[in-house]
């Protein structure tokens, strides 16, 4: 009765295949995205376990060198393109229209198209295993190794062609999020009142639109080289292997923010709800996303410090890479300030959010190490780098995703997840994650290169590698706890109700799961916590805590705001 929704039959009651195939409902597409991405995630985990088992002891013979190359390439490509990106697309697909009080995305059919293209591109890439020719040049596919004289098989073609389709898919999705956010916000929701997850998704989408074409260009030129006899990346005929690196990392570094910003958006929703306080420094968090998105395009060559760029260029990129840590730090201080003095409720979602902060800070700090050119020369292509980006993308992006899943799954399914299993999941994955990846810092500093399929005993790598393998299996165990928790919640879970967390954004104002048209009545927004206003008519935010409206923040939005207020 507090909401804008109505009672509807649950999604499972109408689970007929044709409706799912032809669906253009953002909620169903979101579910399709998330389920498919999770299946790819399991594939990526299996690949990771194969690698960790192979390296658990010296001179292991489980995998040969070529198989190992295929496995680590597919692990990286899967986790980035087939898990993290589509998982976040799925989450945003489901939640964003609800958060802004819209009926659906701006382009429902384009939305469905983006999903199917992602699914088929992923299946296409995985079909390469059937002929034993999975991509094998690493997820960044450096030329000239990927040129046809060094990689004559179909492996790289599978990779390049699938990446082309995935680029189209994610660009289509990003344009949809941008237009939806610009055009379909409900009454009174100015940019300045949007939930921070919406901000994060908007900035992420802008980064995708601006960064993805660099990768597409690189892949197109690579295919011209491989299929039509071009020489773009072949030195000698005027081609240049470094061109590939520039194109790839001009995409590749912004991609890091594509992967991390949605998680930061989730954290910015979860922390205040479970600390029972409004977010601290809303504008700083929103605009630091914009700053990160912008600065993220100026740092790509820090991936290329070892290729012999001019020293002055290296110095500039080192400086910009350190500067990008500033808006990230701004966010972290605001999150901590949000927790400060709050009545903290340690639900599983909150545990993952706090875990995110801790793990991500470690990854951020080692990132600043790697921005220091001489350190990078020492650590590049070692396990230190592997440790660094797993703290960012696993301890960061993945923990953020789990925080989001524990937070929003009750909205999607109408059922609460079991808290005890959730806590078990959290601590298992926290321990497993640190067991797996913390030793890699040490291994890297001891000189262990990444991407080797085996090593000689007696180098001092054995014990740490074994610990890392144990950690890997602990992670796998924790994920199976999550899967168990999810399926048992569908059957035995406590009914969630509309608003199980006593939250403040619009998705909790409708039923769980929401009806096909989301809201029966138009939600009206007058503050950043519309549901607080609805629940506390005697003390609404818009009366007591008007957001700061300095002139810099969209004076045009004022007018948009003013319209819906008529009559009050």
């Amino acid at each position: 009765m507090t909401g804008y929704g109505e009672t509807v039959p649950s999604l499972r009651a109408e689970a007929d295949v044709w409706t799912w195939i032809t669906t253009t409902d953002h909620k169903r597409i979101g579910i399709l995205y998330m389920v498919s991405a999770f299946v790819f995630f399991l594939g990526g985990i299996v690949e990771a376990l194969l690698m960790r088992t192979q390296l658990a002891v010296a001179r292991n013979t489980l995998l040969g060198p070529d198989a190992y190359n295929q496995i680590f390439t597919m692990h990286g490509t899967t986790m980035i393109f087939l898990f993290l990106m589509p998982m976040q697309a799925g989450l945003a697909n489901y939640v964003l229209p609800l958060m802004i009080g819209a009926r659906d995305m701006a382009f429902p059919r384009l939305n469905a198209f983006g999903y199917w293209l992602f699914l088929f591109a992923g299946l296409f890439m995985y079909s390469s295993f059937l002929i034993g020719a999975a991509p094998n040049a690493g997820w960044f596919a450096y030329a000239p190794l990927t040129e046809v004289q060094f990689s004559p098989g179909l492996n790289i073609d599978f990779w390049a062609l699938a990446i082309l389709l995935l680029g189209i898919s994610s660009t289509a999705g990003a344009i949809n999020f941008i237009v939806t956010t610009i055009g379909l916000r409900t009454r009174g929701m100015s940019f300045n009142l949007m939930p921070l997850f919406v901000w994060a998704t908007l900035v992420t989408s802008l980064i995708i639109v601006f960064a993805m074409p660099s990768l597409t260009t690189g892949v197109v030129l690579l295919l011209v080289d491989r299929r039509l006899g071009g020489t773009f990346f072949t030195p000698g005929d005027g081609g240049d292997p470094l061109l590939w690196q520039h194109l790839f990392w001009a995409f590749g570094h912004p991609e890091v923010y594509i992967l991390i910003l949605p998680a930061m958006g989730v954290i910015s929703e979860v922390l205040p709800v479970f600390a029972r306080k409004p977010i601290f420094g809303y504008s700083f968090i929103a605009w630091s996303s914009v700053a990160i998105g912008f600065l993220g395009f100026t740092v790509w060559a820090h991936h290329m410090f070892a290729v012999g760029l001019p020293i002055i260029v290296q110095a500039l990129f080192a400086a910009s890479s350190m500067i990008v840590a500033v808006p990230t730090g701004v966010k972290i201080f605001n999150w901590i300030a949000t927790l400060w003095g709050g009545q903290i409720s340690l639900k599983t979602s909150m545990l993952f959010a706090i875990g995110f902060i801790g793990q991500f800070v470690i990854g951020g700090i080692t990132g600043v190490f790697l921005a220091v050119v001489p350190f990078d020369w020492q650590a590049t292509d070692s396990y230190f780098v592997v440790a660094h980006f797993h703290y960012v993308l696993f301890g960061g992006a993945l923990f953020g995703l789990f925080a989001g899943l524990y937070y929003w799954l009750p909205k999607f399914t109408g059922r609460l997840l079991d808290e005890r299993l959730g806590i078990l999941h959290f601590f298992l994955i926290l321990i497993g994650f640190n067991l797996t990846f913390f030793p890699m810092h040490l291994l890297g500093l001891m000189g262990m290169p990444r991407r080797i399929y085996t090593y000689a005993p007696g180098l001092g790598w054995d014990n740490l590698s074994l610990v890392s393998a144990v950690g890997g299996f602990t992670i796998a165990l924790s994920v199976s706890v999550f899967i168990w928790n999810f399926f048992s919640s569908l059957r035995h879970g406590q009914a969630a109700g509309d608003d199980p967390w006593d939250a403040w954004t619009l998705e909790w104002a409708t039923t769980s799961p929401p009806p096909p048209h989301n809201f029966s009545t138009v939600p009206i927004v007058r503050s950043r916590r519309p549901l607080w206003d609805l629940k506390h008519p005697e003390n609404p935010d818009w009366r007591t805590a008007q957001p700061a409206r300095d002139a810099s923040v969209e004076s045009k939005e004022e007018r948009v705001d003013a319209g819906p207020r008529r009559g009050y």
Partner: protein, 275 residues
Amino acid sequence: MTQVLGEDIESIAPEVQGSHWPIVLAIALTLVLVGLTTVLVISLAGLALALVALVAWVAQRFQGPSLVDHAPASVLNGASQGAGEAVFEAPLEVFTIQSSRWGLVWFIASEAIFFANLIAAYLYLRVSSQTWPPAGGPHLDLLFPSVNTAILLLSGIPAYYAHRAIKRGDIRGLRIGLVLAALLGAVFLVGQGYEYLTAGFTIRTNVFTAAFFTLTGFHGAHVAAGIGILLTVFLLSLRGRFSAQRNFAVEVASTYWHFVDIVWIVLFTILYLAQ
């Protein structure tokens, strides 16, 4: 409680409609890839299926009665503000068109960024080379491509005219403009094909020729797509789909066509004029 804070929108919120064309188009594009790793026939089949799916996708949008013709002007104008409230006041189709305009803007932006990357790659190779064009590199003749360029630029005029015409409700002017623009575009493509055949070098000659064929080839593909859009809109106009109020498809066609023109000006400058 809810009545105080919200308004009933059921009357303007039709049921979510499904469509199978998204999955068909995705399958078609995947078939193109499958063909590239197996037998090329599959790619061609995929392309054909993609074409069918695209046309059907557009056609689906034109089914059912138009709401725009009945909408009061205030609603149409209000929706163009783009934010918040207009969404629920306007009929569904109106805000779809406003969103579509933003979608067009961002689609063209993403294409422009793609071309910008291709051009940046070309300039990078050029700047980092000792000699340009590399050994054995051709010097491009200017006369024929200049004429061809003039033809393509000229085609922008009827495309512009077509959009102007339909905004006055002149359906005949619309048709003439569309066909003329498509015709001139086709002449340009034939000219480019002639230039390819008589060039005396291939994509394998050196990195300059590889870049030449890649850049002009991608542009040519966009011209072909533009012709396809112009002709699709022309076919729709034969079935009387457009009016002074309802002409967004024409706007798409003409905007896209101008975009393709502008890209060519940049390519012509860096590939031919600044050799």
